[in-house]
Amino acid sequence: MSSHPQNEHTSDDDGAVHAHVAPTKLYIGIFLALVAATVLTIGLSLVHLGTWNLAIAVVIATAKAALVVTFFMHLKDDNRFHALIFVGTLLFAGIFLAYTLNDTQHRGQVDRVNGSQMNDATGERAPGGLP
């Protein structure tokens, strides 16, 4: 058997898998926190806060997601590279969202007609679209 390969390994030299086993109470605690956050989200959605509603809903959802990822998915005591993959993926999804919104939010700012669906002069709706 060849000597032990030296790429990233978390365990000692006997090659067996030693996982960090968390106590059951931790998992149940995380679950209760998640349920509390859900109730909070629903509660806050009933209060009319304008644009803040979306921001708060996303923040709470991100907090819940963070709890699930770090504890339930063991990202905390796992190989650092997995955390990099997860965060990197969110970054790329963010790039996709940001650049697409950069287009859809700013159409017609240089010339009002571009992207508009109604011709103000004649009141004619752009053909080919909704009736």
Partner: protein
């Protein structure tokens, strides 16, 4: 790179030069040993056969297009047939050939060997990826048979959501095929990244990885991160066409420009999936046939990763005239220029490697140098298309067609042919006829330039692309370009003949016919099932010719022998 036996610094272990007699062909035989194999080498060869077949089919469509464009008006087919032929040429070449070709065919065969591993990390997943490719190819074939698609390989809505030229749901079959092919590409990506991280031989740290592995790594990152967006885009297209969702089709309240965003978010990184492995092969070939290490190894390696990451920021340069907002047009144009820099760094480092090298102009080296010439033209013409006002003029004209053929055919296909020649002895254990291979290269090279240099001028004079008919003023250049296309056809035909003759009557290839210092040449040709007699311990980089011992660089031929003389 040394096997245990040859390692000067390690304790002298008396194992002969990797003499395991049974190579992976002889290990098991019969059709079942191929269809349910888990050996990455067999899966690689199966991919190679499938990919080359797709290339020939796609090439046939290309010749049909060029015959039709020989003269204005109808030459051999009407407009609808032409629209279907150019769509199939695009779809078959992109999804069935150029994306899987180097990573799945050559990559599958070589990655474990150059890493010193026994196999890829997930062999069953590798076979599943191949069968997904076969299912995708069958679906694409079904779409062709029931009347095929005439939307262009880009499937732009609303044309793709309500065309019924050909058959009512040919679009659904073809987009379903590409959906399945996408997953084959993702699974290959997942497999390769895990293999590169976890299966490297002892001593093989990141600075000693061959540049082909760096390129495959960057490609796999793109495959895993970009292809899923294509999958969701095509799923949305199929659902909208089937059930009417109202997201891309303006008649239902959708927005076609949004589809273009979704499509190009995948398709621009996809062009880097196509070119990066080609660059990896060129690095390997240039190093071997200059007998010295690549100039600026770390810069070339990091430029592969830089291309992969920057490739995700620039997709909007396909849509400068599409009606997207002026702000995003500005941002995409600026970022497009950033992507040009890593490619430039690579080309300059390759040329610098040739300085003070010991260069032998074998067939693979010709393809690598051909890659540098053609890819430079392709890259430089990208500057025209990145500059906003010039792109407004040149967009959707033959200039763009010429640009991406220079980068894709002049780049990836040229590198694929180079890689095929370079690793042919290792994969099949047979030598090919060097002289005939060089003749085939020159025919391909000349034919390619004749075909596509003329299309640059066609485009700059304002000839729109994807046109079955054209105005009389463009006829002369179109005829010139069509003639070039046939010369390419002859060149490729000659190359196929060279390989078939090599398979039938080629001489037995020694383990290291090119005298290269890379790891894959330190095992037998073709290698045993587990690639090496015993897992090698790596003590030097893949291009350290000055550290390699005489035994490692021994080319396995009698002293005064030249590979080109050996048929």
């Amino acid at each position: 790179m040394a096997t245990e036996a040859q390692n000067a610094s390690a304790a002298p272990v008396d194992a002969a030069h990797a003499t395991t007699d049974r190579n992976f062909f002889q290990e098991r035989s019969g059709i079942k040993s191929w269809l349910v194999t888990l050996d990455h080498k067999r899966i690689g060869l199966m991919y190679l056969v499938a990919v080359v077949l797709s290339f020939l089919v796609g090439g046939l469509f290309a010749l049909l297009i060029r015959i039709e464009l020989l003269s204005a008006g109808r030459t051999i087919m009407d407009a609808d047939t032409y629209n279907r032929v150019f769509t199939l040429h695009g779809a078959v070449m992109v999804f069935l050939f150029i994306i899987p070709s180097i990573p799945a065919a050559l990559g599958n065969f070589l990655l474990p060997i150059v890493l010193g591993a026994k196999d890829v990390a997930f062999p069953r997943l590798n076979l599943a990826s191949f069968y997904l490719y076969v299912v995708g190819a069958v679906l694409a074939l079904a779409s062709m048979i029931i009347g095929s698609v005439d939307t262009g390989w880009t499937f732009y809505t609303p044309y793709s959501s309500n065309t019924d030229v050909g058959s009512k749901n040919a679009v659904i079959w073809m987009t379903g095929a590409v959906f399945v092919l996408g997953f084959s590409s993702i699974l290959t990506g997942v497999n390769f990244i895990t293999t590169i991280h976890k299966m490297r031989a002892p001593g093989q740290d990141w600075k000693r990885l061959p540049l082909f592995v760096w390129a495959t790594y960057a490609t796999s990152v793109i495959q895993v991160l970009a292809t899923p967006v294509l999958a969701i885009t095509l799923l949305l297209l199929i659902m909208e066409r089937g059930f009417g969702l109202g997201i891309f089709d303006p008649r239902l309240g959708g927005d076609p420009v949004l589809f273009q965003h979704f499509f190009w978010f995948y398709s621009h990184p996809a062009v880097y999936i196509m070119i990066l492995p080609g660059m990896g092969i060129v690095s390997e070939i240039i190093a071997t046939f200059s007998r010295r290490e690549i100039f600026g190894y770390m810069f070339v390696a990091m430029s592969s990763v830089a291309i992969a990451l920057l490739g995700f920021l620039v997709w909007g340069h396909h849509m400068f005239t599409s009606g997207q907002s002026e702000y995003s047009t500005m941002v995409f144009s600026a970022l497009t220029f950033l992507v040009a820099i890593p490619s430039g760094v690579k080309v300059l480092n390759w040329v610098a490697t040739l300085y003070k090298g010991q260069i032998t102009l074998s067939a693979p080296m010709l393809y690598a140098l051909g890659f540098i010439v053609l890819f430079s033209i392709g890259g430089l013409t990208g500057l025209f298309l990145g500059t906003l006002s010039v792109d407004i003029y040149l967009h959707d004209t033959y200039f763009v067609v010429a640009h991406f053929h220079y980068v894709m055919v002049g780049g990836t296909v040229c590198a694929f042919f180079g890689g095929l020649h370079y690793w042919w002895p290792k994969m099949t254990g047979k030598l090919y006829d060097e002289r005939l291979a060089k003749v085939a290269f020159w025919i391909f090279f000349i034919g390619f330039n004749v075909t596509f240099l003329s299309q640059f001028v066609l485009g700059s004079r304002g000839a729109p692309r994807r046109s079955w008919d054209y105005l009389p003023q463009f006829e002369e250049l179109h005829r010139f370009s069509s003639v070039g296309a046939f010369i390419i056809g002859i060149g490729i035909l000659l190359m196929v003949i060279v390989f078939v003759r090599s398979l039938v009557s080629g001489a037995k290839a020694p383990p290291n016919p090119w005298g290269s210092a890379a790891l894959e040449w330190q095992t037998t040709s073709p290698p045993p099932v587990e690639n090496f007699a015993s897992t090698p311990v790596i003590t030097r980089g893949p291009y350290d010719y000055h550290l390699a011992t005489e035994g490692e660089l021994y080319a396995g031929f009698p002293e005064d022998f030249e590979p080109s003389k050996k048929a």
